[in-house]
Symmetry: C2
Subunit: 595 residues, 2 copies
């Protein structure tokens, strides 16, 4: 890629590149903490090294001219190389998932109507005329919302007083041309990624799907840094909302282009996300989400006019957001349960959505128990020295045999970093081969002599194309230990609360992008998951997105979501009397030998 | 007044003055048509006279250096005099009116609630906690709107989980401090002026009232020029909406300051206006209002979240707008009927709201008949050579006796122009004294010799402080003739439709600012009103504003408004078989001798 970017403004290269539409990874929001926005200065004058860069880059990298784009400024014409690992553009998105099938029963219905035009003997107002026509067709519309009225008079005249009136709960949503289909939008709004689905609500068929990064990533990679940004002042929260609404608007644009439909054919929408994404999208205060005891502003499902938050769909279209269970068990988890039908399973079922926060629900004997584990962002590649998101060139599979390390990278590209599943495999391999022990310590005799700090190399520096080899440090192993310990502790506490053992589990459902790609055997061997036969695990892909689609297709699913919220028993781990002990045991690699 | 204004930009003086916060009268929206923005250039270089100015200013005015601010540009430092008649700032507003009394029965109720704070054993979401507390208090809130959720979590914590929850139709509107009263806002949104009322909804008492110009005046003085501006492109309509919402926001600011309350104590609002003002405020398309057969987009009453249109009140506050009857019989007329109770009168009652458009309702034998007359802006001082709005220095009373003209001006200021009631008096006096005949022609023998064009002087040029005397031209008389003819034709057609004569009228109610100040005897003597005894007329002031207050105070009034809409029979004058004939007769001054 060879681009000319204007960097004359004296701002950090990160900003100039962004303005030139080159997005770099900046997990920390451009503060220099994550060290991911490495660029290599080939020629030209740049600002002096900052202390942040001296800490964040290795001596070899500094020698080779690597800089952090969030710190470095151009002092004149400049040529830089951007390693693939620093580019944010090409992240793999998980759109597909298991969603089962659901009967088409959307909350909107289209009624064909035909009216006579007003004339001097018939001066009924336009909205009243439409309502009368609907009444004549056997429907009783209760109201025409202001949002629809804004353009209704023009639309009726342009369409010659004939078309399809779309109704929802007695409200007229919009007036479509005779031959236009009703479309619905489902969005899985993740902290990092967003997946969008466009569905034909007349037929239930999928029209288009696509994904992109959540543009809020610019303001911090994880939920807590977003909450902190939103809390700075009221403008911060509004800005985050604006950012994500604009992002979804782009997503809608792309979906409509793919499907060949107009935005104003989208008559209904469902957005699911964790509680922080839910609140920030709806413009709701998040301060209490970041403070003990971490409660959401709202539990019940929400429905509001899309134009209230500035998302342009059909004029009277509403956005439905399913209920939140607890501060860190959000609407996306409810959607995942709907998609996998875990909550209705006949046997004993556990469903996990692994991310920076991992939500777990255990369905047993008609009870639903849920908890949330602070598993951290290690599996997203953050806080891992050579970690990266699942983009081309990321090491996604690692196996060690015959004393050698074998790798697979995404799209077979030369390795530029390691993503979550690769990190998990690597740690599992290191543990199996005794390179680390149960406590995570590196066994001295297994270390290569050339490094002083404990380090396990996966890729030689020459192959990695950077100043040092790719591999895992002791600190990286510690991060994985914390993540897997948190998840296993959550599993154990739920089993205890239900008074069962892991052997009684009939099925373990693993959802989410990382959950789809992770090696179950690796997860079992380090003790993140209990040692069940591999056929007891089901990896279901983006089930939250599929759940959002179900909520779009069927009103019964919305009622079901409300039932889940009311029946689920939330277990708060941080105050659970056994949590500290269980967590300490769960931190150890291998077999869990807890209290 | 001595102000330094930056006029170096080369734009017309009108714009520079506006930017310097000096508002000039520009009834036509700055196109040069109305000729009201006269300024006198004392010294300095200005642009050449335009043909618009040559047409719009008299030779005397041109000699004295008068220019139209919308045409004239500064070419350097400039000193100008602005006659009082050109200043827009000091218009008299009619706030008071007859509103009768109404039982306090607002659509909002406040429920005192107290909650315990969430803790690790009690992690219910904030909105659910509030809803539970309301349920415990015997209320069943159906929903918490998104608008309220945005700040609810912060508010609950700041107020220590104790306060007054305000409910409306099962919706939680807001959460107020324990000792804060609920306030309501009523606005009469006129084409020219806006009147605002702040009411304590706990006691029903008035807290404050104030008025200001409708800032949309800048984009045209009358309804049709606003519609034309809105139709130019979609940005035009949005801009007009923004302008009036900002204006009402200023009004709210002033009201809150006067009353010593916070904006977010305003938990309910009522806005009334004619259909064009109604649509433009709510952001609804107006094109069909300006095209035959002139139908409104919506007849039924509207209720929408105030934040949908960017008016900041209590977070979940709604704006209620009463129903529209027809294209030119709007929600303000319904409000006027409610305030005067004309629709419930025991006898035969006629109620008129005189303005650029005059709405008339006739209540007879349980029927309600309504029509709209295109009376034009003459009574607002537009299209009248020396006309002006009712501001200090406007001639508001004219009587002719002993061969002399006697004048009263608003606030006793030196005369600078003539407002509606003065014009009406003057024309009536001219007719009574035979200066004009029944057809409106000037009788030659009554004319002063010094003028060539027919002209009746009221004020000598030296007193008027301008290059020519103040008075009425033949053209002015024609304008009044058209206005009074339209109104009388409406009255006559309604009487005919009801099959009664004017003698059967028990009461004639005259509403609106002009209606409050007009001389009934003058209106009768020129034949604008039928010749009834003066005690049959009741001048009720700003009844639309009072009606808005009633709609705020009582839910029954809202039901009553809907009943009026459903029962009223609208008579479209323009297609009425007798209209042309009746109008032709009604144009003549004096006794109406129609078909």
């Amino acid at each position: 890629m060879n681009l000319a970017i204007d960097a004359s403004s004296g701002e950090p290269l990160l900003e100039s590149l962004r303005a030139g539409r080159v997005g770099l990874v900046a997990l920390c929001g451009g503060t220099g903490k994550c060290g991911k926005c490495r660029v290599q200065v080939v020629s030209g004058q740049v600002s002096e090294l900052t202390s942040v860069e001296e800490d964040g880059l290795s001596p070899e990298e500094l020698d080779e001219g690597f800089r952090l784009a969030c710190q470095c400024r151009a002092l004149g014409d400049l040529t830089i190389d951007i390693p693939a690992s620093s580019l944010e553009m090409t992240q793999r998105l998980q759109l597909e998932g298991e969603g089962g099938s659901v009967a088409l029963e959307p909350s909107v219905t289209a009624v064909p109507v035909q009216m006579s035009a007003p004339h001097s003997e018939d001066l009924i107002a336009d909205a009243d005329r439409l309502e009368n026509a609907l009444r004549a067709a056997g429907c009783s519309p209760a109201s025409t919302p202001r949002g629809l009225l804004t353009e209704l008079s023009s639309d009726l005249r342009e369409l010659g007083w004939e078309g399809r009136a779309v109704l929802q709960d007695g409200r007229i949503v919009t007036f479509l041309p005779v031959d236009a289909s009703m479309a619905g939008l489902a969005v899985d709004l993740g902290t990092t990624k967003m997946a969008g689905y466009l569905i034909d609500l007349d037929s239930g068929k999928s029209l288009a799907k696509t994904g992109m990064m959540n543009p809020q990533v610019e303001y911090g990679d994880d939920v807590l840094s977003r909450i902190a940004f939103a809390n700075e002042d009221s403008a911060g929260r509004r800005h985050l909302q604006r950012t994500v609404v604009d992002g979804i608007s782009e997503l809608v644009e792309a979906l409509c282009r793919d499907a060949g439909i107009e935005r104003d054919q989208i008559v209904d929408a469902v957005v699911v996300g964790n509680t922080a994404m839910h609140h920030l999208f709806a413009g709701i205060a998040v301060r209490q989400l970041g403070l003990v005891p971490y409660v959401p502003a709202v539990g019940a499902s929400l429905a509001f006019a899309s134009d209230e938050i500035g998302l342009s769909l059909a004029p009277g279209a509403q956005i439905y957001m399913p209920p939140n269970i607890a501060g860190f068990v959000g609407a996306d988890h409810v959607a995942m349960l709907l998609a996998t039908q875990a909550h209705k399973a006949e046997g004993t079922t556990m469903a996990l959505d692994i991310g920076t926060n991992t939500e777990i629900t255990l369905a047993v004997d008609g009870r639903l128990l849920a908890c949330s584990c602070a598993s951290g962002p290690a599996f997203e590649g953050a806080h891992i020295r050579d970690g990266m998101r699942a983009a081309p060139g990321a090491v996604e599979r690692v196996s060690i045999w015959d004393g050698e390390v074998h790798l697979e990278t995404i799209e077979g590209q030369p390795p530029v970093g390691i993503c979550g599943s690769g990190i998990l495999d690597a740690v599992a391999g290191m543990f199996r081969h005794g390179i680390i022990d149960r406590s995570g310590r590196f066994r001295e005799d297994k270390l290569e002599s050339e490094v002083t700090d404990p380090f396990f190399p996966l890729v030689e520096s020459s192959v990695a194309g950077r100043g040092r080899p790719l591999g895992l440090t002791l600190q990286d192993v510690r991060e994985i230990q914390l993540a897997k310990g948190a998840i296993r502790a959550g599993i154990e506490i739920l089993l205890r609360e239900a008074n069962i053992t892991f052997g009684e589990l009939d099925e373990v459902i693993v959802a989410g992008a990382f959950g789809t790609y992770l090696g179950i055997d690796s997860a079992v061997s380090i003790g993140m998951f209990p040692p069940l036969a591999s056929d007891k695990f089901r990896q279901v892909g983006n089930a939250a997105g599929m759940g959002a689609v179900r909520l779009l297709l069927s009103e019964s699913e919305r009622a079901e979501a409300e039932r889940i919220r009311k029946s689920i028993e939330y277990v708060e781990l941080t105050v659970h009397p056994l949590f500290t002990k269980v967590f300490a045991h769960a931190l150890r690699f291998g077999e869990y030998l807890g209290p």
